[in-house]
Amino acid sequence: MPSVWTKQDSGPVTAMTAYLLKRLAIAFATLVLASMVVFAVLEIIPGDPARLMLGMNASADQVELLRNQMGLNAPLALRYLHWAGGLLSLDFGRSYTYSVPVIDLVRERVVVSLPLALIALALSTLIAIPVGLFSAGRHGRAGDTIAMGAAQLGVAVPNFWFALMLIYLFAVWLRLVPAGGFPGWGAGIWPALKALVLPAIALALPQAAILARVTRSALIEVLNEDYIRTARAKGLPYRAVLWRHALRNAMIPVLTILGLQFAFLLAGTIIIENVFYLPGLGRLVFQAITQRDLIVVESVVMLLVAAVIAVNLLVDLSYAVVDPRLRSRP
């Protein structure tokens, strides 16, 4: 096949812009499709939010009145357009159960969930990358076997079970940290962080195990490449080769997994936030599902989907930062 690299390209900058635009367009299209799916799925949920709000003793007339007030009797397409249009202007509507704007609920919860996910992500990265480097550097030797054995175990532990064990060890037994709950950032940075420590560990450890394995295998693969031999032939010691040449090349699979993990972490928070009764997005959506607070479910799910898409976009772009070959790719 002829060489792909022709001379008449108009430079990496425009190619990069085109790539960026294309990715953005795809991300937006995915978002729109996702919103349709979410809306369609939630519209077939059995359970009437109006009835739920009024309880057992309310009459059918009262329920109907409330349904009208809540706009539940409008045609489907109109409701979708209204809702989707609102999303664009960050107007997510009003919660059926809390009767406050959804955006306010989200804002209150995001300050719990986002720091939690970020701490967990940071924690898992900080554990995983060094372990991966360590293991790859001792490929096949005792240290590697032990580290990877531990990682295998980490992957196999369900995070909610791990969370339970952590609570009983650190909160009930040792009383080092609270068993759950969140005092709010208003109570000071330290108490708030303390409340997030256990959940973050419970979330991070299984992820760290996966990431460490990926880092190691990516590094080992890269270490088999010819250019590693070239670098060794320059006289660089093994360690320097590992850091200067192997790590950056091994970043692409690691970044991919990091991106995927963000989605995992967001979903993982649903169960973990329930175990630790943290007032985060995960619990908001879980409660909203059980209370049939459709508007909240729709909005939060869309927000999470948007976050996942945004992170994937970011990961795509970071590939280009890591790998110059992708910068000039159409």
Binding site: G47, L54, E108, V172, A179, G181, V275, Y277, R283, Q291
Partner: protein, 492 residues
């Protein structure tokens, strides 16, 4: 735990100085399982609203006491006309709402009229159905005229749905409740907690607590560690199933009280084969209430034989009617032509009494040949499918409203039970205020329900409260779902 350290340090200090007048702790974190959807008791059915606000932030003309008795509240006294149709309430004076506005008879009239209006979204409009008109006599007197005499009117006025609100703040109560109670609303961290603080301009006896936080701890799994780690000091409504976890721990007091919650295995009386009396009776014989109470409620809870709390003065013990008897149950099924048993569904709402009880009941009914498929449902689905559409065979639920035997006479109620004899008794009961007469009628009503085996009567839901051993004044029983903090204080 910083808090504990502070307390410890303070306690040591107090001992060292020998100061007897050491001020006791004045803050409290109370765990609640469900978060209120909003904070207006007059606009929602959720019990969680009352659990936070009743008697603390909002007050009614009357109120319900710790043992279900009717006590004066904003109305210091009342007079009832001989025909039982006119009530004249004498109100307390000098009462202010938390926003500084005065409370007077206009507010009382506004509150009652608002609740019974056509466009009212009050969840218990039935409470006000008997009211014909409300008149302001003077700022401290309000007169209520009924269409017909109602024996339970004073009790009804003590419900959380009948509390007095001010016209200025009625519309914003959902977010920022303004009442006349001893505590005022401070903040609500949604999904997490609601904080109340002592109100300085309270008209009544001052309360001991300065600050009370209601923290939302949705599941029992989280409640135990929260309690053990000291994050939460009281769970007035603790899951009985978890009580073994803290029983015997000297740090905590476990208080078993009574509720108005008749836990029943509800039966769809119109759906074959449950339309046959023998089938329903067979189910009643198949139930082993002791095992159910042991397995689903940690052995706490009193068996019932009809729809009435054993704590109620009008209670009739009918538990002997259907003792656990597998052979008898099989025999009855055979009479009904179902000697080979049959299949049915059992829809279970989320509370642990239902989910755990359901598993046990399914196992017990399997012993007599009834094969149940367990379908767990969320409350929303339960209300929709079971309660509204009556699309169910069997379900388990606890009817926590007090004095609610009349539900069996309601048309289209989800039991699909229809017995003119029973309806007649209830109709008569509604027009009767004579105590002895009422007792007889209620006894008859209980008997009919038991004979018809309308539902499987299981047990009276216990009210299990668990709180710090040094805490005093929380309700032991739960005549209504409320956490009255007016008498709560720490002891040392």
């Amino acid at each position: 735990m910083k808090l504990w350290k502070t307390i410890l340090a303070a306690a040591t200090l107090a001992l060292a100085t020998g100061a007897s007048a050491f001020a006791a702790r004045t803050d409290l974190v109370i765990g609640i399982t469900l978060e209120p959807p909003h904070l207006d008791p007059t606009a929602g059915a959720a019990a969680a609203i009352d659990e936070v606000l009743y008697a603390n932030v909002f007050e009614g003309l009357t109120r319900i006491g710790p043992n279900g008795e009717v006590l004066p509240d904003l109305a210091e006294s009342w007079a009832i006309s001989d025909d039982g149709k006119v009530y004249v309430f004498k109100l307390h004076t000098g009462v202010k709402f938390h926003d500084g506005t005065d409370f007077n008879a206009d507010d009382a009239k506004f509150s009652l009229d608002r609740a019974r209006a056509d466009n009212s979204v009050n969840a218990q409009k039935g409470l006000f159905a008997a009211i014909d008109k409300v008149e302001v006599i003077d700022p401290a007197t309000v007169k209520v005229t009924l269409k017909n005499p109602q024996g339970s009117f004073l009790y009804n006025m003590g419900w959380g749905d009948a509390v007095i609100v001010a016209p200025e703040s009625a519309d914003t109560n959902k977010e920022k409740p303004i009442g006349t109670g001893p505590f005022k609303f401070q903040s609500w961290a949604k999904g997490s907690s609601i904080t109340l603080v002592k109100s300085d301009n309270y008209w009544g006896a001052p309360v001991a607590l300065d600050k009370a936080e209601f923290r939302v701890v949705p599941d029992a799994a989280a409640a135990v560690p929260a309690l053990l780690s000291g994050d939460v000091q009281a769970f007035p409504f603790f899951d009985p199933d978890s009580v073994a976890q803290v029983q015997g721990d000297p740090r905590f007091k476990v208080v078993i009280g009574a509720t108005e919650g008749e836990t029943i295995l509800a039966i769809n009386n119109k759906k074959p084969p449950f339309d046959k009396l023998q089938v329903r009776q067979a189910i009643s014989f198949a139930l082993d209430r002791k095992a159910i109470i042991d397995g689903a409620s940690a052995g706490l809870g009193v068996p019932i034989g009809s729809h009435m709390s054993p704590a109620n003065k009008d209670y009739v013990d009918l538990t002997g009617l259907y003792p656990h008897n597998v052979d008898k149950a099989k025999e009855l099924l055979k009479e009904a032509g179902l000697e080979n048993g049959f299949k049915a569904t059992l829809k279970l709402p989320p509370p642990s009494y239902a989910r755990l009880g359901g598993e046990i009941i399914a196992s017990q009914l399997r012993d007599v040949g009834i094969d149940l498929e367990i379908i767990p449902v969320e409350w929303a689905q339960w209300l929709d499918q079971v309660f509204t559409k009556k699309d169910y065979d069997l379900t388990i639920v606890s009817h926590t409203e007090p004095n609610d035997i009349d539900i069996y006479s309601r048309k289209d109620y989800y039991f699909n039970y229809d017995n003119p004899a029973f309806d007649k008794i209830i109709a008569e009961l509604n027009l009767t205020s004579d105590e002895a007469k009422r007792k007889t009628l209620l006894g008859e009503a209980q008997k009919i329900l038991a004979d018809d085996a309308v539902v499987g009567f299981l047990y009276e839901l216990p009210k299990v409260g668990v709180w710090d051993a040094k805490l005093q004044g929380l309700w032991e029983n739960a005549p209504i779902q409320a956490n009255d903090l007016t008498k709560v204080k720490w002891t040392d």
